[in-house]
Amino acid sequence: MDTPVGARLPNPIRPAFDRGERDDSVVVSIGPSHPATHGTIQVIAALDGERVQRVDVHCGYLHRGFEKECEDHTWHNLIPYVDRLNYCSGLINDFAYCEAVETLMDVEITPRCRYLRTLLSEYSRLADHLTCVAASLMELGAMTAFLYLVMIRDYIYEHLADLTGARVTYTYGRVGGLARDLPAGWLTRLAEILEQYEMFIARIHGLVDRNRIFIDRMRDVGVISTAEAINFGFTGPILRSTGSPRDLRKDMPYLAYAELDFEVPVGIKGDNYDRYYCRMREMDESVHMIRQLMEMLPAGPINVDDRRCTLPEKHLVYTEIESLINHFKLIMDGPDVPAGDVYAAHEAPNGELGFYLVSTGGGTPYKVHVRSPSFVHMGGVHRLLEGYQLADIIPTFGSVNMIGGECDR
């Protein structure tokens, strides 16, 4: 073992540059395994002292062939996979994917399912934003704020585990409905958690908003204009932080959003502070929506009465041959989705999460493509990093909230 390990292995990437603007510029490689890149990503940066001149971002370290694997399983069997795209808000992935398949099948979900999916989407957004804000604050040294926020997030995870059986990867959506209805007392606990959220989020505002250290690190750092954000395809809190109120929940309402009262918070100039504040305000709006939805939630079935996609009741499977065969065909062959292609998108916590599905008929997709906000954001993130300090990469990267699962697929 004479040669060092690194010398024996080929480099998986080819940096776009190996020198900076000046002779004394230094090129450093940050990541892919770095505690502050939460997610496996590599940033090649040319530095002039502490100032970042140029960056080259490399993703793909978490690529696992998601789209290839999808072509080999039934439409239903993909649901556990889509959970693992943005693993901070798995339910939103589930619902966006299910809606795409339902559009192809021309299935209209039941009212209870529609309201429940909306409620759970907002609940997931809350958990996702809590994670993002908590992680960004911790990276700036705010350990107390981090613990307050992840404590609430953990209440949410435990509460969702009561509903779905899992803390993170829920597999709760179904084509044409949901896995199961709410357990007894679930909404009561939900109301409690929302109250605790309000108590602790008030403390975060008190600790952070006007904190000199926090403002110095966040204000006027990672600035981007609306025009440039649109040019780079930015959506979600990054686009809204620039002052543009673009939100699919308002602009192309899906699920029950057209019936809800909510605002779209926007920032002033698209810097790190605005992205932090947009997320904080969006969480408040989510809580406001969840409370409305708790009142609006109608009774009734959660699954459509459609034998093409919904599994028959268990007692029928055991007692009559038609249901037994129906169950068998749905599991073994998958739901029969008519030929065609569709693009369906939901406003995920990070931006537009789109599924482009191609079916040639039958129980298995011909192609599944995910338009993941994180991947698109990585295509333009250099604009947020160049010209700032090396240390600013950490809070800026935190405020973009790159999620490796959906970025690399």
């Binding site: 793909g60 559009t103 395809g233 192609k367």
Partner: protein, 157 residues
């Protein structure tokens, strides 16, 4: 989504040798690969489709030409999406790059190049993005086997 603007776009933009339709509420235009860049220019300048959402390809091995390159655009003015498809043959899988019009095209075209081997003429940076340097082939093509392996680091035995 307002139907008049959608119809107006379809009337104005569908070229003589292309086709236009509305599928599941989304307008879709199929164009020859050579006409793509000009059409997207008009789409952006005249019809305010200012956001390049996505590009991917679909592989139809039995068909000639073999690939559909599928684009999605969004207009933050009209608040709706539009799909473009360009067909390219496997012998010359080339379309014009849209990096001159949209910054977001850079990364997404790189991914499509990785996965399907589509060449985006004018995109100077088609280095692997989700795959690694030296990867042979295009894994999302239908003739690339799902279990085919080419590890960068040899397996420990």
């Amino acid at each position: 989504m307002s139907t008049p603007i959608r119809d107006r776009i379809l009337q104005a933009l569908v070229p003589a040798d292309g086709e236009g339709k509305v599928a599941h509420g989304m307008p879709e235009i199929t164009v020859p690969a050579a006409a793509l860049l000009g059409l997207v220019h008009r789409l952006k300048d005249e019809f305010h489709f200012d956001m390049f959402l996505d590009v991917t390809a679909v592989d139809w091995p039995q068909r000639t030409p073999r690939f559909d390159v599928v684009y999605h655009f969004y207009s933050t003015t009209h608040l709706f999406r539009l799909r473009l498809k360009a067909r390219v043959p496997v012998a010359e899988p080339v379309v014009d790059s849209l990096v001159s019009l949209y910054g977001s095209a850079g990364f997404m075209e790189r991914e499509c190049h990785d996965m399907y081997g589509i060449v985006f003429r004018g995109n100077a940076d088609l280095r692997p993005i989700l795959l690694y340097e030296g990867f042979v082939g295009h894994p999302l093509r239908k003739d690339y086997g799902k279990t085919q392996e080419q590890p960068l680091v040899p397996y420990r035995t």
